[in-house]
Assembly symmetry: C2
């Protein structure tokens, strides 16, 4: 393609709207433009990159036995109501009412649609397994769209759904897809890790996330140094604390609880500062409302009060050490509910008799559904916590003495996120940020049972299909590749997804010796199916070099007056600083070889 | 691909929901399934056909110098308000309100978005022309979705937009795109005609539609037998009636108007029957409300009345012969407005003093904005029309005597659709039904002026970009190809867009001689990049033949016991009934040749 005929509006200035390098560079290199909050137009080069990524995804999906289909973006709300997920998605789902007053959702994902499709067209085990995928636009009304395409409201997702007659078949496909994902990300030039993950609102029994470690990532990856264990922070399993002291003995020496006045000092940090204590000495008492019948909780007014009986049925207390964070997923698992949220002021006041910030576990076990105690709290000698009295805390609170560590509604169990110092199977855990680019799930029959996707087995018995689902964020692959590899001059693309493989920079296009040589190399490269951009613009050499670096094209061929007069061109990799001189006649051939070598590295 | 591993749910019964052959066959051949009114999931084979069509479109667009981009589906309503087209689209546009209360439209088309993109990134004539296209999902909330993908609510459109510094440049690109469209439809195997067309809500100065003539089409194509003139019915220009009689003389002999009682007889048909007259003897008097400031008219209550002054400013009368249909576009052009609609009962009653169905032009010219008289009415000696009195008509109404044929607000002009018997430039017009598969428009500055898409010319002057736009209905190409070519057994695909080029039907797959030969041919065809479906299912031969015909795959290779024992296979074109015997060793090579020949026919 000739640069002069291409629409590549590069930008010198770092755009104010963009916080992270990939977002800045995607705008600066003329790959995309913002239309509205969280929506972007892909310009010719950006779209070319995405098309190359989609083609890799497509090849690997087909090779794994998945078949491409295309489902509508408009989805009847009725399907979502049947699985109850309309509530799970809540305001994140775009909804509209059509001219016939039908409620319609804009696809945030497609489990419901594909399951109803299979329900209608599959009836026998002989038709299974079926593995269907699409590469289509998805919509999520994010509360805070940000980081360019990393958290946008409209994005391209590859979503696959497999249907099976038995678990062994699911396992086989899950493994095939897992391997296909590894090939896809490798071929796209990404460094990635696969981590154990929570299945979240998708549901199911097992799942893995594919993460690209980089500082701009919104997810936290937890792993052992040796890489034998990796999980996302929501899933990471941590060892229970080991203690070498004789807790019973030491605790018996602790003085009785003592109330201290802590006026207007509610937060852990403030209390620590006021009492000159460390967060590790605090027992954080979190009060949560739970719901078993769907996410009714979020709509409850925060200041609403409840009768004692209702509180006993709908409230749990979570105890954590002051330096730890609650992991809501773990707390939900421990409670057996899919919906919890921090209780409102009204509930807290009714339960504790105090304002927010002054709760403690003492005397509350009979008044709530459950008390969940993190093992690190159970292992404390004593701690400081709220006094259930506004503006007061208590010291010398001894677990097992001042609040129970066992009982019908008391459970000591891991309910927190991994933190610095934690171990898994005895090995220290380290933390890094990452971008989630893919996610695979074993779903089981969550959707098939609700949407009647049944089949007759070889004995004539009707069973719900066993399902898996598999997602890839196409736009995120693009952004991750940039986050992984850029320098102050611009993007450094992996060869497989670069908008062009080669750029020919002709320094003085008006010089016929140069333009003839450039044209010749351009034609020769095209004949070898090399994807080449010919910068034929009447611009200064400096402008052309800057643009070539900004665009991040892996190989640059430069035709300057001096070298061309000697029958040579300069060839440079974007990753290197040194030019290599190559004879004009050999240039196309040599560059084709270089590109092949670059491709081989990506498998 | 092996049939046994493919998801191709064919259906024997003609689906009740489908009225036309393409819709029936797309469901029966397992190409698609309905999700909700006007939305469809494309199954693997249907999606494969669409992908082949998109690839042809893409190749020709790129060759014509257009660059592919991808614009969001979510479009800010604010952009539509700036061009005023939010009102033009009305309820046909899907709208939603996001969690931040922003009004958003689902792309029905993208003139606004692309123009605002160019407005931000193009500033000089040096950057022009620019021709951008996308292949993306579009949304229209059709009042009556029907005919499968021909009138659906979610569909795939290729939409291109070109921006120019002058008209000559627009002309050049328009011609390039016109030619590219001809190549696209030819390569897709369609028989088509390009016709002059109205530009409708898109606007602009010239446009052509690409129509596939077929009985299922919703559009009417008007053309001369020799093909020198073709237009859609909204655009077709017709010759004024020629009359050989001396109108003045003959009219002078007509008796005065005579009222006749026609109780409860309002419609043309009913009046004709009652008075034993032919529709050609009737003068149809249509009363329309017009609006100049946008489509305020549609929201007006039908029974609302208006003051005489308002009626004089907002009402027109159209006179047609009883056997003719009004062409609203022509009436709008003649009035100089973009919005007209039939007046409500209240207005008609105020104006005529009678109920609907009894209006006549007598005495009304001073009371309305305009009287538009079709030339065929002006050429009548006399006619029958309403008496402006409920349950009464008048006979012997003479144009020019009983209502004016000239005057400040009277215009004799073509305001009707072409009808049987009409001519264009003296040649008889014939009518046929067609499916619109493409549409090209010269837009001028309609959008660029409103959205500030300006450029500085070589003199430093700021001008609005001159635009063109160019659409193709991808799904309609698929349906048209089927409508054009099917038989009682199923689809007959053009080779270029067939889901597979060849099907290998192995009659007894359990016979190792057959399965070995089939496998060999399968592998050889794949090695030659032939797109082949290998029917390896353990089904009866009859089932396999039926499915092969239903799917419409152009070439079938059949391996039966007898022929294979003789070292031969049977090769048959879907379009023919006779088999050709070919040696097993030659089969792949011969079939590859046949496919090449089929492709050559499509250019």
């Amino acid at each position: 393609m000739r640069y002069s005929q291409c629409f590549i509006p590069t930008v010198k200035e770092v755009p104010a709207e963009a916080e992270i390098p990939s977002h800045q560079l995607m705008i600066r290199a003329g790959l995309m433009r913002k239309l509205s909050s969280g929506t972007y137009t892909y310009l010719p080069l950006g779209w070319k990159v995405l098309r190359k990524i989609m083609e890799i995804v497509r090849q690997e999906m087909n090779a794994a036995g998945a078949m491409e289909i295309m489902m509508p973006i408009l989805q009847p709300m009725e399907l979502w109501q049947r699985t109850g997920r309309d509530k799970d998605y809540g305001p994140t789902m775009f909804k509209l009412t059509d001219r016939k007053d039908s409620q319609t959702a804009l696809a945030p994902t497609a489990e419901e649609v594909v399951t109803s499709l299979v329900a209608a067209d599959v009836s026998s085990y002989k038709q299974l397994p079926v593995n269907l995928y699409q590469i289509n636009t998805k919509f999520r009304d994010e509360l805070r769209p940000r980081f360019g395409v990393l958290r946008s409201r409209e994005f391209i997702m590859k979503d696959a759904y497999s249907f099976h007659a038995d678990l062994a078949s699911l396992e086989e496909t899950y493994n095939k897809m897992y391997k296909a994902y590894c090939r896809i990300f490798t071929r796209c030039g990404l460094k990635f890790v696969a981590v154990e993950a929570e299945s979240g609102p998708i549901g199911g029994s097992a799942s893995h996330e594919f993460m690209v470690p980089c500082s701009a990532g919104e997810d936290t990856i937890v792993h052992t140094e040796d890489g034998t264990y990796a999980a996302n922070i929501e899933k990471a399993e941590i060892d229970a604390p080991s203690t070498e002291i004789d807790l019973i003995n030491v605790r018996s020496a602790v003085s009785p609880m003592e109330e201290v006045n802590t006026p207007n000092v509610g937060s852990i940090d403030a209390v620590c500062k006021f009492l000159k204590a460390a967060p590790q000495q605090m027992i954080k008492t979190l009060i949560y409302s739970v719901s078993f019948g769907g996410p009714e909780v979020p709509s409850r007014h925060p200041t609403a009060s409840l009768a004692a009986d209702e509180i006993r049925q709908q409230t749990i207390i979570c105890l954590l050490r002051g330096d730890h964070e609650l992991n809501e997923n773990k707390a939900m698992h421990a409670t057996g509910t899919a919906h919890i949220e921090l209780a409102g002021e009204g509930v807290i006041q009714s339960l504790t008799g105090a304002a927010i910030g002054f709760a403690g576990p003492q005397g509350l076990s009979g008044k709530v559904l459950k008390i969940l105690i993190d093992p690190s709290v159970a292992a404390m000698v004593s701690g400081i916590t709220g006094a259930n009295k506004t503006d007061y805390h208590v010291r010398n609170v001894v677990p097992g003495r001042d609040f129970p560590l066992s009982g019908d509604n008391v459970k000591v169990t891991d309910i927190r996120n991994a933190a610095a110092g934690d171990t898994h199977a005895g090995k220290a855990l380290v933390f890094s940020k990452g971008i989630e680019v893919g996610h695979v799930f074993k779903l089981g029959t969550k959707y098939s049972a609700k949407l009647d996707a049944n089949f007759l087995d070889d004995k004539g018995q009707s069973n719900a299909c066993i399902m898996g689902c598999y997602g890839i964020g196409i736009n995120r692959i693009m952004a991750s590749a940039i986050e992984m590899s850029f320098d102050p001059n611009g993007i450094i693309w992996p060869i497989s997804i670069a908008p062009f493989e080669v750029i020919i920079t002709s320094v003085s296009p008006e010089d016929s010796l140069i333009s003839d040589a450039a044209q010749k190399i351009y034609t020769q490269l095209q004949a070898q199916n090399i994807d080449v951009l010919f910068d034929d613009r009447p611009e200064r050499a400096g402008v052309k070099f800057k643009d070539a670096d900004l665009l991040g094209i892996p190989v640059r061929i430069t035709l300057g007056k001096k070298s061309v007069a000697q029958g040579m061109v300069e060839v440079k990799l974007r990753t290197e600083t040194e030019n290599k001189m190559i004879a004009i006649d050999q240039a196309a051939c040599e560059v084709a070889k270089m590109i092949n070598d670059l491709k081989k590295v990506l498998g």
